[in-house]
């Protein structure tokens, strides 16, 4: 894929970032559970 304008570059990269950001959110929440599940309170 050839990108010729900054505008297209940002649209594409920010789009990918948004997807990663959603994964980050869900992932971190899940990971915290994984980390603390066996802690006895």
């Amino acid at each position: 894929m050839d990108i010729y304008t900054l505008q297209d570059f940002f649209t594409f990269t920010k789009g990918v970032i948004y997807i990663l950001v959603i994964i980050t959110l869900i992932g971190l929440a899940g990971f915290w559970r994984f980390l603390t599940e066996r802690d006895e309170d």
Partner: protein, 390 residues
């Protein structure tokens, strides 16, 4: 008006109901005009001034003043300041209604409101700050709805599902803080795209940070302000815990607001230094900037501080109201007053009275809904049998 709480359910010709009634009738008329004649029929918007008070007030101010929800829930559930627990419910309710009404107001402002989900389901303009704002506001409204829902469930007696939602409290609070950080700051970032239109004193690379910090201040102040009003009108609805904690909330939130205001003040000054905008201070816009900086940031900061030291809640309440005014002024400055500063006076915007009617109509709706909910559901008191998860 003080007997409002006890007469809920039956419609009575109290002054509040009469004024609200007139506003609602006017609002409905203007609504019809708006959706039959277009924006041109009811607003003073032009091609030079595409955004008026429906954005400047309803969106920018509405969102900023609804920040109390995330500030309070973060203080209680994340920072563990349990002594403010009784402030959470009113703050969440205020925030939920605030955001719901912001979204309602947007339906008036945008050309084709039924397309509001388009950015997410049809075509994503990911390079746009507005995309981020839209996504976060939509998500946060959902989060607020879930955070508020236990109140309604207690009212309706849905014990089981309420239990499930209560378990999500921490997750929802963290989500709320993230989403709020993002969209509160992005509302300011909206204006980064127009350096040639916003006056240099208000245009700054720091504008997203200003918006976020001032939203925190607005949130803290609104909690105090809202509790002042609630104490007057819903006193009979409050349980002992609420009444006992209320003074602590005012003092604690006042202290936080004073400190945050001080930081905000310094950041604003640094912003002027960062762009070397000192010389603008000698102009008319400079004077107006100083009015905002000294009169609506430094002054309330000082009044808050004195109030906190003297443990004078009356003073703190005045400072809160003054701060809220200052936030409104700031949002107006950025979206309306210092925006398009380069245009001749004849091309500048002044709201049409019908625009004001819609804004007032929407605020009134908010008050009526707040009263409806606060007089029926457990907002200022703990519902019997539900004191578990606190």
């Amino acid at each position: 008006m003080s007997n409002e709480g006890t007469t809920a359910g039956k419609f009575q010709m109290t002054p509040f109901n009469m004024v609200a009634g007139v506003i609602v009738i006017l609002g409905v008329i203007v609504t019809i005009l708006r959706f039959t004649g277009g924006l041109g029929a009811v607003t003073n918007l032009t091609d030079y001034n595409p955004w008026g008070i429906w954005i400047g007030f309803d969106l920018l101010v509405g969102v900023a003043l609804s920040a109390g929800g995330f500030v309070t829930s973060a203080a209680v559930y994340i920072f563990g300041l349990k002594k403010y627990h009784s402030a959470v419910r009113p703050a969440i309710l205020t925030a939920f209604l605030g955001y719901a009404l912001v979204v309602l107001a947007l339906h008036y402002d945008v050309g084709r409101p039924w397309r509001l989900p388009y950015p997410f389901i049809v075509q994503q303009g990911t390079s746009s700050v507005l995309f981020e704002v839209g996504a976060c506001v939509a998500l946060y409204l959902t989060v607020l709805f879930i955070e508020w829902s236990p109140t309604a469930m207690e009212w309706l007696g849905l014990k089981k599902i309420r239990g499930i939602v209560i378990k999500l409290t921490l997750l929802l609070t963290i989500f709320g803080v993230i989403l709020s950080t993002l969209h509160q700051s992005s509302l300011g970032a909206l204006f980064l795209i127009a350096p040639s239109k916003l006056h240099p004193l208000w245009y700054s690379k720091y504008i997203p940070i200003y918006f976020f910090v001032s939203a925190v201040i607005a949130g803290l102040s609104m909690v105090i302000f809202e509790s002042t009003l609630s104490h007057r009108y819903f006193h009979d609805k409050m349980d002992e815990t609420h009444l006992a904690e209320s003074r602590g909330v005012t003092l604690g939130f006042g202290k936080a607001a004073a400190y945050t205001l001080a930081g905000y003040f310094l950041l604003k000054v640094i912003g002027v230094a960062a762009d070397n905008d000192w010389h603008y201070l000698a102009t008319g816009y400079g004077a107006w900037f100083l009015v905002e900086l000294l009169g609506f940031i430094a002054l309330p900061c000082f009044v808050y501080a004195v109030g906190v030291r003297e443990k004078n809640t009356t003073l703190i309440r005045w400072a809160a109201a003054w701060t809220v005014l200052g936030i409104i002024l700031n949002r107006f400055n950025i979206s309306l007053i210092a925006f398009n500063y380069h245009l001749p006076a004849s091309e500048r915007y002044f709201p049409h009275w019908m625009e004001v009617v819609i804004s007032v109509f929407i605020v009134t709706l908010g008050l009526v809904l707040f009263r409806f909910i606060a007089t029926r559901m457990p907002i200022f008191y703990e519902a019997a049998g539900y004191d578990d998860a606190h």
